[in-house]
């Protein structure tokens, strides 16, 4: 018989990159479905367009680099879905194509592909369109508009390189009472209006496609954490530190600073904490490092919101955390077995 020579270990687990990534995709599906339920055809078209752009870009660059296709590792799919979920539902599709292309080409392929990227590709895509299309990315429409399954939001079908079509008529015909075109955070910042907790948990407030239902996002994240496809310590650190800082400020001055639930449940903090800060390639690997990284993101998010010009801030906080990751890893190397001071136990 022919003998196979291999080095130990000869038994390995069933963990694989494809499996981890596929489960993240599965966990994002309920969130995507909910966003389509809220915003209708436009959200569906945006999800489809952005994800397809990401996959197409990945394949194109594979071919340009003479590599085998990397589509089957599912990572480009995750980037596409996540990116679409962070964009406003009325975002013009052609701008979505730009965002998807930038996310994969600049956010990922330029660094060397999966595992080599320093920043979360989806957030690179979003950061680019936030700078390029400041109006479109802050144009919000109300959820559950009655005509959402029969007609697109007018801005969705804007022609390439054109400014978005006006959506005010569409919002007016949606006849949703009291909709002001602002997110809960913006309404707090400019009107000191406190959104009801229940609306924010279930997704009745206006926001980006996939950011609205905190309960759903938490459940999907919980699934990943329980199946060990996600590091639970990161979202705990992000949400915990953000809550602590927000609570301290609110306690200090309840008039000037919003209540804790408004901070935690708005502006993509949940989606960011559970699905973007946890991106493995761009978060630290050391046990102490992940706590520091999560805490930095949580604190910076709240600081940007309170003292910066932006009403949100999760995106820049995570990108900053990504940038700090190699540094955090370097200074939090684990204590090697056998280097402890002796005689601690028994």
């Amino acid at each position: 018989m022919s003998m196979e020579l291999r080095t130990s270990p000869h038994q390995i687990s069933d963990r694989s990159v494809e499996r981890i990534m596929l489960h993240v995709v599965l966990a994002l599906l309920p969130i995507s479905a909910f966003s389509v339920w809220q915003y209708g055809l436009s959200a569906l078209a945006l999800l489809f367009t952005v994800t397809a752009t990401c996959l197409f870009t990945e394949r194109l660059l594979n071919r340009a680099a003479g590599q085998a296709s990397t589509l089957n590792d599912w990572s480009a799919t995750i980037t596409g879905i996540l990116l679409a979920l962070t964009l406003p539902p009325a975002f013009p599709l052609w701008m979505g194509v730009v965002a998807g292309f930038v996310a994969i080409a600049i956010g990922k392929a330029l660094f060397g592909g999966l595992g080599h990227n320093v920043f979360n590709p989806a957030l690179i895509g979003r950061a680019f369109v936030q700078a390029a299309f400041p109006v479109a990315i802050t144009t919000w429409v109300p959820p559950f508009a009655p005509q959402r399954f029969t007609e697109f939001i007018p801005s969705t079908l804007t022609l390439p390189f054109m400014l978005p079509n006006d959506v005010s008529a569409w919002i007016a015909s949606a006849s949703v009472d009291g909709f002001t075109g602002a997110t809960p955070l913006a309404r707090w910042k400019f009107e000191h209006f406190v959104y009801p907790l229940q609306d924010m948990l279930t997704g009745s407030a206006g926001a980006s496609s996939g950011e609205t239902s905190a309960v759903l996002i938490l459940l999907c994240g919980l699934y990943l954490a329980v199946r060990k496809f996600m590091d639970w310590r990161i979202p705990v650190a992000v949400i915990g530190s953000a809550a602590l800082v927000a609570w301290s400020f609110h306690y200090y001055d309840a008039i000037a600073f919003p209540p804790v639930h408004l901070v935690l449940l708005s502006g993509g903090l949940m989606l960011g904490a559970l699905f973007m800060a946890t991106d493995m390639a761009t978060s630290p690997v050391t046990p102490l490092g992940v706590w520091i990284y999560g805490a930095v993101i949580g604190v910076v998010t709240v600081m940007i919101r309170y003292f910066g010009g932006l009403t949100e801030g999760v995106m820049y906080a995570i990108l900053l955390g990504n940038a700090l990751t190699p540094f955090i890893d370097q200074y939090t190397q684990p204590r090697v077995f056998g280097t402890r001071q002796q005689g601690a136990k028994k």
Partner: protein, 446 residues
């Protein structure tokens, strides 16, 4: 799943829970017949090779010394069967090298009794005489380390051993020979423990057994002496519970300082198989001519624990247990740390604790695709030495071998395989670390 706040079995931090495949643990030890030819290497231990004292054509009796120890750190070799010395010369060994070996053509229909022995009253011997007697048995570390037993038990005068740890964890998947030894040869084991305690001066002994072997724990507990000097402790079933660092930590809460031996914290570790053979052979004055080992794996029709004469070629052994034709990977030792062999002509030696035959279906039909490190950090969560395999792997890819050793403690890695086991990118981390260590050793020697 365990409930919180319930007292758990002793354990260490990190590690993995592979599929254990301990089905052979319930099968009693059985004896295999002699192979027509036995190939007995002169060096089956760490230290100097034994010096052959027989010649070609000479008849040898089962148990007779055929090679004598060359100095203190060396062991004699005994004839595993009665027969004629057919050849003395280089033969292939498991590690792929050619080693000096004695080939014995076994007389057919020969009995299994040991023909040469020198029974002694061990209670009458002092430490020095006991050590000499232990060396004459030819016993090396039978868990696979193959360090001569008498050398390990020789405690320098300036060292005080306060506890002997007896390693019955048997954390490698598939292997169950230690398990059967603890169940079937409990008295041998305890006799061996008392001898080792006397020689090393250790006042107490803790036997650690993984809690997937409750019958072994019960058998030992029933045989323990009343004075309380020997105790048995259940360990959590987790790999690598049986490594020296981890079992000492689990049982005593002490960490061996990096780069030092257990003796530096007053501990001596011995494997149950080694001590059971010591307790069996020393009073009888016999040499080690056979050992119990596990033959298992999906490529074997009759897996089990067998008494196999030293020198039995693996081809004969696998024929006896009905190796399947698709068995293409044969591993000596366990699947986590064992090594594959390139030829079935290599013999069973004193350090062979298991022979596993895996078929093509088990060894993944195509090698899983290797991805770049996605920095999931799972390797850090399982490394029992708290290393950073992720970082080490990235450095290995850049051939930064010196940095790996200087800044990331490469030399603390004992190649347990936990990082490779969990890696979702299927990066051959352990293999990379072995290469790095070998290159560093060569550079240091140059």
């Amino acid at each position: 799943m365990r409930l919180p706040f319930v007292k758990r079995a002793a354990t260490f931090a990190h590690g993995i829970h592979p599929a254990y495949h301990k089905e052979t643990g319930s099968l009693p030890i059985r004896r295999l017949p002699f192979a027509p030819r036995l190939i007995v290497p002169l060096s089956q231990h760490i230290g100097k090779a034994a010096v052959c004292c027989v010649s070609v054509g000479q008849e040898v009796l089962r148990g007779q010394v055929i090679a004598t120890a060359d100095g203190f750190v060396s062991l004699p070799v005994h004839a595993p069967a009665t027969g004629v010395v057919e050849a003395i010369g280089l033969m292939p060994a498991a590690n792929g090298k050619m080693v000096d070996s004695v080939t014995i053509r076994v007389y057919e229909a020969d009995g299994q009794q040991i023909l040469v022995s020198e029974p002694r009253d061990i209670d009458a011997l002092d430490k020095k005489q006991l050590l000499a007697a232990i060396q004459q048995t030819g016993i090396s570390g039978l868990g696979g380390a193959t360090f001569p037993a008498h050398v390990k038990l020789s405690v320098p005068p300036d060292v005080v051993i306060d506890t002997m740890v007896v390693n019955g964890a048997e954390c490698e998947p598939f292997l169950t020979c230690d398990h059967r030894i603890m169940v079937e040869r409990t008295q041998d084991l305890l006799r061996g423990i008392r001898i080792a305690m006397k020689v090393s001066g250790a006042p107490r002994t803790v036997i650690g057994v993984e809690d997937n072997k409750p019958d072994a724990i019960a058998a030992i507990r029933a045989a323990l002496p009343a004075d309380g000097s020997i105790t048995v402790q259940a360990l959590e079933t987790k790999y690598p519970q049986g490594a020296e660092d981890t079992i000492i930590y689990a049982l005593l809460g002490r960490e061996i300082p990096a780069g030092q031996r257990p003796a530096s914290i007053g501990v001596l570790v011995n494997n149950v198989m080694t001590l059971a053979y010591l307790g069996r052979l020393l009073p009888a004055g016999e040499g080690i001519v056979e050992r119990v080992l596990t033959v298992a794996g999906p490529g074997v029709q009759k897996p089990g624990n067998y008494i196999v004469p030293i020198g039995t070629p693996l081809r004969f052994l696998l024929e006896q247990v009905g190796a399947r034709s698709n068995a293409s990977e044969v591993i000596l030792g366990g699947p986590m740390m064992g090594m594959t062999i390139s030829s079935l002509d290599v013999p069973v030696t004193k350090g062979t604790s298991g022979v596993l035959a895996f078929g093509k279906a088990q060894v993944a039909e195509e090698t899983p695709r290797v991805y770049p490190c996605i920095k999931c950090g799972e390797c850090l969560n399982v490394c029992p030495k708290f290393l950073n395999p992720s970082q080490l792997g990235l450095l290995a890819a850049k051939r930064e071998y010196a940095v790996m050793a200087e800044s990331f403690n490469l030399d603390r890695c004992f190649e347990c395989g936990c990082c490779s086991y969990v890696c979702p990118s299927h990066i051959p981390l352990v293999q990379q670390f072995r290469i790095a260590k070998a290159v560093n050793r060569e550079r240091a020697a140059a």
